[in-house]
């Protein structure tokens, strides 16, 4: 089974960092959680959480599919394992696969970056906040099963930010 290869390089002329040809920047949990809060606070004006989820889905779908293509990865089991590793490489936490097939499934995150950052910054919240992580999972299913984005819907059934021991996400077509 292949392991994730991260080709990191810094362009000294443009002073930009690239990981596997993706322009990459570092930010902190304050930034990520405040973006999430902004999305939540804007719900009366615009569906901010949907925009955040879909942005995540689109961006990470491209990262995954580009990686599979550039590295000749076609086996679904291998694509799944690489997607889990890539999730962690972004600092998003840890995915443990529960059930996963072309019709959907259930995944667990024993560690979820957005929840961890939110808890550290503000403590518990009464509803899910991991729209970025959920968008990644939607991207992952589409990329693994060769479907376009928006093929899957991801909903958090349990969330660490509300006090659960782990985050559980349900994926449906």
């Amino acid at each position: 089974m292949a392991t994730l290869k991260l080709d990191k390089h810094f362009d000294p002329d443009r002073c930009r960092h690239y990981v596997n040809n993706n322009l990459t920047v570092l930010h902190c949990h304050h930034y990520a959680t405040l973006f999430t809060q902004l999305a939540l606070d804007a719900q009366d004006l615009v569906n901010g959480t949907k925009l955040l989820y879909e942005t995540s889905e689109d961006i990470f779908y491209k990262a995954l599919t580009d990686y599979y293509k550039d590295n000749g990865v076609t086996d679904q089991a291998e694509k799944t394992e690489l997607a889990k590793e890539m999730f962690s490489s972004f600092g998003l936490g840890k995915i443990e696969a529960g059930t996963l097939d072309e019709k959907g499934g259930s995944l667990e995150m024993p560690v979820a970056y957005l929840d961890q950052g939110w808890l550290q910054k503000w403590g518990k919240y009464n509803s899910p906040v991991n729209f970025i992580g959920a968008g990644y999972i939607a991207a992952m299913f589409s990329a693994v099963f060769d479907k376009p984005v928006r093929s899957y819907k991801v909903e958090e059934q349990e969330s660490k930010v509300t006090g659960a021991s782990k985050t559980v996400l349900q994926v449906t077509v």
Binding site: P12, C15, N22, V25, L26, L38, S89
Partner: protein, 206 residues
């Protein structure tokens, strides 16, 4: 100024941040993420585009505030880190050097090629930035030119850097010091200028 900017950029750009077995990247007293830059630009573009004209300014300020708070806490984490102590601190002679060093680290992190153009200690700072990743937001607009200046992250971080330099002792709760200064963007690559320009001054109510 005693900061060797090229040396700081060269050495700080090599600092590696890797995920731990939990898939988290704890560094500089914060939890780091390493997303594609277009993640931040795409969401920013979508949110500003989605809201009505009369509240775009308010949404923009939320993005600036997110960066201001991030810059305050992460900035403090950086200037008290072992990497800073090893590479930058030996060059620092005064508070102004800390600011110059901070912008060299800002550049090393890939946020943009940023340098202080003018500094009145405790009062005003002008920063010029070339090739900042936020300027790539222009590619989301027809004609590859934004209809407004959108380097909210640089605005927020610049305000935060002045807070850390001249806003009093660092407050982890962010209840004092943070938001002593505010930053306005006066030029933008995304709107057609050759560089971004950011002017930081004390807030009127500070």
């Amino acid at each position: 100024m005693a900061i060797d900017r090229s040396k700081v950029i060269e050495q700080m750009s090599k600092v590696s941040v890797e995920a731990n077995p939990d898939g988290l990247i704890p560094a500089f007293n914060v939890l780091i993420n390493a997303f594609p830059a277009d993640f931040w630009n795409t969401f920013t573009y979508k949110m500003v585009d989605a809201v009505n004209e009369d509240i775009k300014d308010a949404v923009e300020e939320l993005f600036v505030n997110a960066a201001h708070e991030c810059g305050y806490h992460t900035g403090y984490g950086i200037i008290t880190s072992k990497e800073w102590d090893a590479i930058v601190k030996p060059m620092v002679e005064n508070t102004e050097d800390v600011l110059h060093g901070a912008y060299a680290v800002f550049t090393a992190w890939g946020w943009g090629k940023a340098e202080i153009a003018e500094l009145t200690p405790g009062e005003k700072m002008v920063v010029r930035v070339e090739d900042y990743y936020e300027s790539d937001i222009k590619d989301h607009f027809s004609g590859a030119k934004a209809d407004r200046m959108m380097a909210y992250m640089i605005r927020g971080v610049s305000g935060a850097f002045m807070d850390l330099a001249y806003g009093g002792d660092y407050d982890p709760a962010g209840e004092s010091g943070l938001y002593t200064f505010e930053c306005e963007q006066t030029k933008g690559i995304e709107t057609g200028d050759s560089y971004g320009e950011f002017v930081v001054k004390k807030r009127n109510d500070a």
